[in-house]
């Protein structure tokens, strides 16, 4: 490619605390009757004051720690002033120049480090609903979401492809779910993303003079599409010698394109100033140390441990640590097996049979594997010989398989079973046939 994409990302993660950021209202607003989770504070009534949610702040710091951030011992909240009907106070309580977490990174699977500029805490806004009431077009406001804690995670412009962005997002989602601080559900709006994309001219090490922000992206797949579209669109503009406009664009799902929403002549003036209603936060090293000790084992570390402790392959350990529940299930099964099965046997069974961990308790899983193995009295080497013989005797198997006819495998299995004349593990047979054919 002629140009080098320079991509940065802002992600908002809604925390799943019981109560809102600055009041005692329930933060669980999804699907609730509009305006039933409100009080003077989250409605911004005259005289109401914010009282910060300690747990939300702890969780924000926990996310920062998981992203290898520094936690400055001094931090504060600021007011970000702007008008919008869903913003009750005419300002959002956010953090400006002293966020809770700074200078972190997240490592992608190819070893590339995406630098995290900052992780800060803020409050969510209400929600506008445009509808028709008795024939009249109206805009209604639901304040249930007003004041729900949001953590904003901002990266440096370190991404070069949509694929990298997608992997980062998957890892970030996995991380906050591991920390058990957010459902990070895209469809429910628990996780919102805004990439900014620009292209750097060849042989230039200066950052581009413009930046295009894309909004309305509600899935990881779309973020990749939006970025690809932008790279193509901006390349074409640069090819003609022009510079793309600095603007905010919206993603259009039906044709995977983006359209201009508003051009930013200059940066908005939010008139930030320190929030006088909340005293600054001063941490001690001891407090940060305590938070660190609350940190569960994170996915990458767990996968690495699984490789070493259980002698698993990289891929298998990555699959087993995809969610904390999945990993816990595996380890519980290993404990249950005592020495009757190796961790690798258990891992293979869980992964290959796509075991539903909600349906089968770890202890029952072990019993099942043992049972399956009991029927599999045949020696692997012996079985291999039979498989080889079957494939040799039926050359069509190989020919059809190369043509992509998957059901020929079923035929091959049948042939092997017929020859063995015993009840054996079908999966094992399938594995050996695949091995022979590929």
């Amino acid at each position: 490619m002629k140009y080098k994409p320079v991509i940065g990302l802002e992600v908002h993660v809604e925390l799943k605390t019981n109560s809102k950021m600055f009041c005692a209202c329930s933060a669980d607003y999804f699907g609730q009757e509009p305006n039933t989770h409100t009080c003077p504070v989250c409605l911004g009534l005259p005289g109401a004051l914010p009282y910060p949610n300690k747990r939300a702040i702890d969780w924000c710091v926990l996310i920062g720690l998981a992203l290898n951030c520094e936690i400055p011992l001094f931090s504060k909240f600021d007011r970000k002033n702007y008008f919008y009907p869903d913003l009750v106070k005419g300002y959002q309580i956010s953090q400006y120049d002293k966020p809770f977490c700074i200078n972190g990174f997240l490592t992608l699977s190819n070893g590339k480090k995406i630098r995290i500029r900052r992780v800060h805490m803020e409050e969510d806004t209400g929600k506008l609903i445009h509808s028709t009431l008795e024939g009249e077009k109206v805009s209604l406001i639901d304040f249930n979401r007003s004041g729900v804690p949001l953590v904003e995670i901002v990266t440096e412009p370190d991404f070069e492809t949509g694929t990298e962005v997608k992997e980062y997002l998957q890892k970030l989602q996995q991380l906050v779910r591991y920390l058990n601080v957010s459902n990070a559900d895209m469809e429910r709006g628990n996780m919102r993303l805004e990439p900014n994309i620009s292209l750097q001219k060849p042989n230039s090490n200066k950052l581009p003079v413009y930046k295009v922000e894309v909004k309305n992206i509600n899935s990881f797949a779309f973020v990749e599409k939006a970025i690809n579209f932008e790279i193509k669109r901006q390349s074409e503009i640069l090819d003609t010698g022009k510079i793309p406009l600095q603007e905010t664009r919206g993603f259009v799902e039906k044709n995977s394109s983006t359209v201009s929403q508003r051009t930013k002549e200059e940066a908005s003036d939010y008139r930030y100033f320190p929030e006088p209603d909340i005293p600054p936060i001063r941490w001690t090293k001891l407090q940060i140390g305590k938070l660190k000790s609350l940190m569960p084992e994170l996915p990458d570390a767990k996968a690495k441990r699984f490789q070493q402790q259980y002698r698993l392959l990289y891929n298998d350990s990555t699959i087993l640590t995809e969610t904390k529940n999945y990993a816990d299930y595996f380890e519980e099964a290993v404990r249950n097996a005592k020495d009757k099965l190796t961790p690798k046997q258990i891992a293979n069974f869980i992964i290959n049979r796509k075991v539903n961990i909600d349906d089968l308790q770890p202890a029952k899983l072990i019993a099942k594997i043992l049972d399956t193995n009991k029927t599999n009295v045949i020696d692997t080497e012996e079985l291999k010989t039979i498989v080889k013989a079957v494939i040799k005797a039926n050359p069509n198997i190989k020919i059809d398989f190369t043509k992509g006819k998957q059901n020929v495998i079923q035929f091959a299995i049948g042939q092997v079973m017929y020859k063995v004349k015993r009840k054996i593990d079908v999966e094992k047979v399938r594995e050996l046939i695949m091995e022979e054919l590929t």
Binding site: P40, P46, G47, A48, P85, G90, Y91, R271, P276, D277
Partner: protein, 471 residues
């Protein structure tokens, strides 16, 4: 009966000399008779008050003891009151009925108080005259052609005119002490963070301090004890334990070190004010107190700092009044609020923040240090509360910095978050009250109240104490 102070009223109720209903009715009928002259109330809550008084009488009969049981109290109209219209004297909130009580109101109710109504103020507390109220100016009970001061002018006037037993005000910089001075009553501005701001319509959030306006120092102490304390709804309240303020600890005047600063007797100060304050200080000196001249920053710097910080905070605090959820639209803001919104918005704008807000905060830190240094040498600082006597109606016209100038002597201590009290020390020849302020370090209310109380006792039998406003 309505002329009684809080302590006397409490004793009378306890001894069953009269009932709370009788006392409340006495206040209400005085309001009905005379408030058309003063305009000190925006809303009188007659029925609620009588209901509360009846309940208080029942509790008194049962021998229940609560610090304010059955005492009729007036509250400034910037305190949110459940089910009672709360306007902050602005037409923007003309029809706003809050669904919740301010913490101060809740504490008053929990202590058994009877709420007479909501008192007039400068709209949004922007001013020192109560002349900028959208509901018309309040007048000074000592001279109906003069201003009561402000912004808690309604509370100060109502207390001086015996429309209530005591009242509640709020001070950002001078709004309790200055009207108390002009109306000849006691006004206590507690340390910032001593009394919860929850439910007080925000003006300058880093400065606002609710406090009592009363007929005696002891009454102020009784009320402070009820109002003070940490509030889980206001993150800026102090964790410090509430002292037994009402016991009025006795500071030995012989060991008291009083600081006076010549800069607080500014050019243009009314000579009668200067003479009365100096005379009052002399009385304390005669009792053994040591008076030291100290050097403090010229109060004029505090005006600049205060003007910037307060207007920046105002511009943000008033943003919620967009008419979408409650109240009326922005068109209902009067000139003073509009001026402050524009000033604050400008000062916070990108490129100006460092020049104004940030610089002001830096100077604020210097002012705090300046006071800290002074309090290493002296226990309290005494100064005039206001450089002038109550000014005539119309004095604010065309004077957009009127408030800042009228409050020049209270702004430095407000900026520093200190506590201070205004106490009457006499009258001018024209019959207008003169007030003196005692300023102490943060959270030194006990000390300030003790000295103020001893001064009040010392001068209890002076002739001027017999003066009563004629309304």
């Amino acid at each position: 009966m309505n002329r009684l102070n809080l302590k006397q009223a409490k004793e009378g109720l306890k001894k069953k000399s009269f009932s709370s209903v009788e006392l409340t009715k006495a206040c209400l009928s005085q309001i009905e008779r005379s408030d058309s002259k003063l305009n000190s109330f925006v809303t009188v809550t007659k029925e609620t008050a009588l209901r509360q008084a009846e309940a208080a009488d029942k509790a008194l009969d049962e021998g229940i003891d609560m610090p304010l049981l059955g005492i009729p109290i007036a509250i400034k109209d910037n305190f949110s009151t459940l089910g009672i219209r709360t306007t902050a004297s602005s037409k923007v909130l003309d029809d706003y009925i809050p669904p919740f009580d301010a913490t101060v109101v809740k504490k008053l109710k929990d202590a058994g108080a009877v709420l007479l109504g909501k008192t007039n103020m400068d709209a949004w507390a922007h001013g020192s005259s109560t002349e900028t109220s959208d509901y018309g100016p309040t007048k000074n009970p000592w001279d109906l052609k003069r201003l009561p001061g402000g912004s808690s002018g309604g509370s100060a006037a109502a207390t001086a005119a015996n429309f209530c037993i005591a009242s509640i005000g709020s001070e950002t910089a001078g709004s309790i002490r200055q009207p108390a001075s002009w109306c000849g009553v006691v006004g206590l501005k507690p340390t910032y963070g001593r009394v919860s701001r929850y439910g007080v319509i925000a003006m300058g959030s880093s400065l606002d301090s609710p406090g009592p306006i009363t007929k005696t120092v002891e009454d102020a102490a009784i009320l402070l004890e009820v109002l003070a304390g940490v509030d889980e709804l206001d993150a800026t309240t102090s964790q410090l334990p509430i002292e037994k303020f009402s016991k009025l600890s006795k500071k030995n005047l012989k060991t008291l070190r009083i600081g006076i600063s010549e800069d607080y007797f500014i050019d243009g100060i009314d000579p009668e004010v200067e003479a009365k304050i100096k005379n009052a200080i002399k009385k304390l000196e005669t009792e053994g107190a040591k008076v030291e001249t100290i050097k403090l920053f010229d109060p004029k710097y505090a005006i600049d700092v205060y003007t910037i910080i307060q207007r920046c905070e105002v511009s943000s605090n008033l943003a919620r009044y967009d008419g979408i959820r409650f109240g009326k639209g922005r068109g209902f803001f009067a000139d003073e609020a509009k001026r402050r919104i524009m000033f604050g918005t400008y000062a916070l704008s990108s490129g100006y923040y460092d020049q104004y807000y940030n610089k002001a905060q830096q100077v604020r830190t210097l002012i705090i240090d300046d006071f800290n240094k002074a309090f290493n040498k002296v226990d309290i600082i005494i100064a005039p509360t206001s450089p002038t006597l109550a000014l005539p109606l119309g004095a604010t016209e065309g004077a957009s910095m009127f408030g800042e100038m009228a409050d020049v002597l209270v702004e430095p201590s407000s900026i520093a978050g200190l506590c201070g009290i205004n106490i009457p020390v006499g009258f001018s020849k024209s019959g207008l009250p003169i007030g003196m302020q005692l300023i102490g370090p943060q959270f030194s209310e006990s000390l300030v109240l003790s000295v103020a109380n001893q001064y009040e006792k010392l001068t209890q039998n002076e002739d001027w104490r017999k003066n009563k406003p004629e309304i």
